[in-house]
Point group: C2
DNA sequence: CAGATTTATTCCGCATCATTTATTTAAGTG
DNA sequence: CACTTAAATAAATGATGCGGAATAAATCTG
């Protein structure tokens, strides 16, 4: 039970101020007053403390001052160098790592083309550790200057406990990855989270859902991911467990039995099904070269009936799941992404049709489905954002009490 | 954006104190300190204000004082007469209304055996208004003494706006029921909510989920309802829209197309399917008398293959939906209720099997499925609780500022 | 039975915090 | 040089929570 005391009060208001600066910065103090409904005195006190602590810098207004009369505003912004964090994302075929500054600008990044699933957990952790150390060095920093690390992993992750409950990458379950990494990184605090959660936060902070307090993110990668932002907070299950869209259930197109959605609509299942469908043709070769997805998209554009049917089935299964999620969450926006969606309509059109057909009239128009392609480093920026979010709310140096002098 | 000021601080702590008294009362101040982590001083100040306002009463410890030495504790409890509220529930075949005191003890209740769906909305509202006025009079109270009214309705309800978006009871959509009722009840504030939400709150306050912060409630009535308690709060969609389990989608047993879950597993669909299956037999008569559900359960116990198959299909469809909900919410408990479940295993066994079969290993043991029969007035108590919850958190007389003397 | 002990509750003084209301300083414009 | 807006600063007010001292009301002890 969280009781209220003056310290909590300050923490809340300081968070509001930092959030305003992050979202609207560079921003003048007056405007922070307007946006937060805090008094000028309070804003001045808080920003003063933030300046003392070096979390915020002033940014003299050099440019356009049209029709402004009195004393010019002093703009405040987050100090990019106030802290640095590392974000990483473990994908089935690569590990992407980025070091960012306090504003989540990428300072250095690297990608290790590793098939993580082929290695044991200790080896994978070795690789992550080495990658992080390298990436920190590339940014011209010492590990001790890093305020936090967040690693995104596909699957079911219990962030609070730092345990990876289940992942397509690892055979084992309940791996205490966060503790393991923290130990290896000389005590730099490492956290883990579901990879979709990272991209969800990234969309919220930097992307298509900026300022939107409710939306869903569906990622069609090798596995299927689901991120939910609900009332401005990442939604997690009862124990802080991230949900796994792939574990949702669907009936296969032939109508017999029930299967995990991941076995119809994930990239992995698409590839194996497509490979089977194209076996013996000239196209099969591409799969061996690891260019399967490109080939699938190419054949879809060419109108190959087997591939089109495959993508249609996947789209319908996803549409089914998304329709149900819309019933539950009524989100104004649903963001879809993943290589399989890049091709345009082969998968997306059946998906949209299915959603439209299945939604009850009362919910017909609430959700806007958009496809958003992600660049490589959005994952890492999300991971950085996840860490920064904690940092912004954390007690920091003298920022707790008011400044004496 | 909610900024923090001393008033908010007080409101938070006052809520904690009231919640402790509600949950554990009669309770001594010292124990409130333990349970809330507030200082003795603060608890004393807050309880003092609550006593002044008459929301709380002292309850001299008369009984067992085994091995207690020092100054005896003074037990505090909610003042049952501090306020009165009315809860109502509109079911397809009846309107149940209860007047309760501040502790949600039912002081008077009545049931109108009305088929609500047969009437127009204005007529239905007439009936509700008359019922509420009657029920208030039965409790020996004036309408002006009622602090709030909450009405539970099946379907999709937007509580904040007081609008019933869609309901099986009414053909119309977007009915501004709350405003209408408030106006008719001489300004007594009326709110509406999904009926399952009421029973979910009732389970949380009084029932099987007391003290549990995450659980699901699934009601199989004429329609299907879903209530979600997540982190101690009722879960609502983006606009405060309650989700409707019946709007979730399932594939029918024959595997063709997709249908609303309500058309497989609701009491309504069960009845009509069973009636069709038993057409021409001696059993058909029962349906005409409105005793269809009893007949269905009787035939199920007798092992009638058509009926057993029907219930199995319903159980499997529900199990499918519940398994998906468990994937999303990972609740430690799922409470099922409704007449159709009363029969024991014909429906519940396939449901449990389906859930067990479909859950991924990582979630296999998280959720405990229980069947809980509800008495008639649990709905009304839930409605009362919904109003009381607002009352507890509301600024109240002099309770806002500290007491002067 | 008077005083010691124990436990619950209240009172007092202190520190923090936000707010309001000036007052002052800064840095411009006209 | 007057005027305007931004911002920092100061002082006063009021609300809050907290820790420690004081008080209250019982039981225990000799």
């Amino acid at each position: 039970m969280k009781t209220a005391d003056p310290e909590l009060m300050r923490a809340i208001n300081r968070f509001h101020v930092m959030d305003a600066i992050r979202r609207f910065g560079p921003i003048a103090r007056v405007e922070i007053c307007d946006r937060t409904d805090l008094s000028a005195t309070t804003v001045s006190a808080i920003t003063g403390a933030l300046l003392d602590d070096g979390l915020v810098i002033t940014h003299q207004l050099g440019g356009i001052r049209d029709a402004a009369r009195g004393r010019p505003r002093v703009l405040l912004d987050l100090n990019p160098d106030a802290a640095h964090v590392v974000g990483a994302r473990i994908a089935p075929d690569r590990i992407t790592i980025a070091t960012t500054n306090f504003r989540a600008d990428v300072r250095a990044s690297l990608t290790l083309p590793v098939r993580v699933g082929r290695h044991s957990v200790p080896v994978a952790v070795d690789l992550i550790e080495d990658g992080i150390r390298r990436c920190v060095a590339d940014a011209g920093l010492e590990l001790s200057q890093i305020s936090g690390v967040c690693v995104g992993i596909p699957g079911v992750v219990e962030r609070g406990a730092g345990i990876c409950r289940a992942s397509p990458l690892f055979g084992e379950r309940d791996i205490p990855l966060a503790a393991e990494l923290t130990q290896r990184l000389d005590g730099v605090v490492a956290t883990i989270d579901s990879d979709v959660n990272l991209v969800t936060l990234a969309e919220h902070w930097f992307g298509q859902a900026r300022g939107l307090d409710d939306f869903l993110v569906v990622s069609v990668e090798l596995g299927l991911g689901l991120g939910i932002l609900h009332k401005g907070e990442l939604f997690r299950g009862a124990n802080g467990l991230g949900p796994d869209l792939g574990d949702l259930l669907a009936r296969p197109p032939n109508g017999n039995g029930l299967v995990r959605l991941a076995s119809i609509a994930s990239e992995e299942s698409l590839l194996s099904d497509a490979r089977a469908a194209l076996a013996g043709t000239e196209h099969e070769h591409a799969f061996r070269l690891g260019r399967g997805m490109e080939k699938v998209l190419e054949r879809a554009k060419a109108g190959d009936p087997a591939i089109v049917a495959l993508l249609r089935a996947a789209g319908e299964a996803l549409g089914f799941a998304i329709a149900n999620l819309i019933v539950l969450f009524a989100p104004p926006k649903v963001i879809l992404a993943g290589p399989a969606l890049a091709a345009g309509d082969a998968l997306v059109a059946p998906l949209r049709e299915t959603v439209a057909a299945l939604l009850p009239p009362s919910l017909a128009d609430v959700a806007d489905l958009v496809v958003h392609e992600w660049t490589e480093d959005i994952w890492a920026r999300g991971a950085a954002a996840m860490t920064l979010r904690d940092l912004y709310g954390a007690p920091w140096g003298t920022t707790g009490p008011a400044p004496h002098r």
